[in-house]
Symmetry: C2
């Protein structure tokens, strides 16, 4: 800006005004300034701008695992909104680790992001840092793996209902013995398991606790949890398996096939999330559709509202899920 000013024999201030298209600048000088700015390849320095305005137009995102299809889609939804609203996206990855999540949060704060979007790691059970951040008034919105009741808005699907409905669907089709591959018992994972339990209870079916195995959110955990169930002593096997999400279900399917069982005839299985792979599986996976892109969009929209209006009230936004009935549940015949 100084150089442009010197070049044209005006003050830096006039250049600033011209470039920001203020109306108290002579039309002619404005034109010349804009032109020479372009000619000299001027790029405004947002860092300096941010320092004075204490606004960075930057949003920090903490994702448990970027390479997971679901989160990639959520990010895509977030990006849609930030693009429209002229915010930038600072992406961090907790890699499902509590430590990394905290470090990421600290860094985002240091970067002076205008707001933060968080989906908790698998390990996160201590919310003190999150609470402290919210208490300072820094805009923060949870998505998918949310912490409710600590003052921040949350955006997720109605996990309990989705899980309940899927379980009910299976019961309606005559299944009576169920295994459940559960996620960690926080937010999403907890609610889905509750939905499962409630459905069984409401239908007066027994819950066999040793068939409820924690698998985590990933393929490997699903594989191992399923194996554990299949290796249980005794000759009984669950007739149907509900998994906390599609990656876990996909891992479990591998285990089931390794044991030589066929899906859905020996064991029926369902997932949750409608992963990009679900419909393409050899035996297409029945699952609960989660509007991943919308989750990202809603979360980003809410966050920006909070950023731009500190009085925006906190709310828990639940998006609707849908059952996607394919072959793996065996109800399609």
């Amino acid at each position: 800006m100084k150089k442009i000013a010197a070049e044209l024999g005006v003050s830096a201030m006039t250049v600033s005004r011209a470039l920001n298209n203020h109306d108290n600048v002579d039309e002619n000088t404005k034109k010349t300034i804009v032109e020479t700015a372009k000619k000299m390849g001027y790029t405004p320095n947002r860092v300096a701008k941010s320092l004075v305005s204490s606004r960075t137009y930057t949003i920090g995102v903490v994702i448990p695992e970027i390479s997971h299809a679901f989160f990639a889609q959520v990010v895509s939804g977030i990006e849609n909104v930030t693009y429209e609203k002229d915010y930038q996206l600072l992406l961090t990855n907790s890699a499902e680790k509590f430590e990394r999540e905290n470090k990421a949060l600290e860094t985002l704060l240091a970067q002076q992001v205008d707001g933060i979007l968080v989906s908790c790691s698998e390990e996160t059970t201590d919310f003190s840092l999150l609470k402290r951040i919210i208490d300072t008034g820094k805009p923060l919105v949870f998505f998918d793996r949310c912490v409710e009741g600590i003052g921040a808005s949350t955006v997720s699907v109605d996990d309990r209902n989705g899980s309940y409905n899927m379980t009910q669907h299976m019961i309606d089709h005559g299944y009576k013995t169920f295994a459940y591959l559960s996620g960690p018992q926080i937010s999403t994972g907890k609610e889905r398991l509750e939905g499962f339990r409630n459905a069984l209870k409401d239908n007066k079916l027994d819950i066999k606790e040793e068939w409820i195995v924690e698998s985590g959110f990933q393929e490997k955990g699903g594989y191992e949890a399923m194996k554990k169930i299949l290796e249980l002593p005794g000759d009984k096997m669950p007739r149907a398996v509900l998994a906390v999400n599609d990656p876990a279900a996909i891992g479990a399917i591998e285990a089931i096939e390794e044991f030589g069982y066929s899906i859905p005839d020996d064991i029926a299985i369902t997932g949750f999330s409608d992963d990009i792979r679900a419909r393409l599986l050899k035996c297409p996976l029945t699952t609960v559709y989660q509007p991943s892109v919308s989750i990202g969009r809603k979360a980003a929209e809410k966050l920006i509202k909070v950023i731009e209006n500190k009085d925006e009230p906190a709310e828990n936004i639940d998006l609707l899920t849908d059952l996607v009935i394919r072959q793996s549940c065996g109800c399609n015949k």
Copy 2:
């Protein structure tokens, strides 16, 4: 920092030195300062730091489509490195649009990122902005969809070879008539088509130009291109189809099935990228494995080298591909 200084009756400068662990500060004062900083919940302001140092420890990434599995994995590789080296990731999405790519680039520049990682959009044929950025000395590295020869390093796989090898594999197994679903004729897309052409030429096989159809990089384009081929007048059909990437192949498979043909018995097909879905398809897709995470890692590593040493020479890094033979090529019997 000022508040801490006031609290302790020292100057802001001493606080700065203590917090940055300089050695010319009294050990005791240093300790007290660090403690009260923690107690007061001090978070350093990187924006201010950046303004004076003209370093942001931020890397901008321009991705053609975040929600694509391949790119999500590349981003994951990039993030691994930026995490290790303490850089932050500013993610932008060109949505395969030239305009958006340019806007993203401008924004990243304005954000004063220390360097930029770019994979070009499908539409990008005008490299003038990219060239201008490189010429200003701003560190920039291309990955996957690269522009060679304009002064920036590139990281991609040896597309020509990968494509050649796949074609040769098919020829070795007796296939003689090929269709090719091509990407746009830049970088990756161009090289893969060349590999295909070269292999046919070297084997003295005819190339039927009307069976070379531009599909773009996505499912929809693959579907439509394949349909076009199958609807061609005359009763001849290609015996095998090579697609520029897996998404295009997956789209094409849908078209092939819609026409009632079976894979690989009526038409064999292969992809490129080893998408997360490839192995799970009803007829698992034979494809060329691209080390996506490594591409991200290498690109980020190279970029950081350039950032930290302006004399780092530009180079074209080619990672190796591998054929992944599954069922869709029909060579597995």
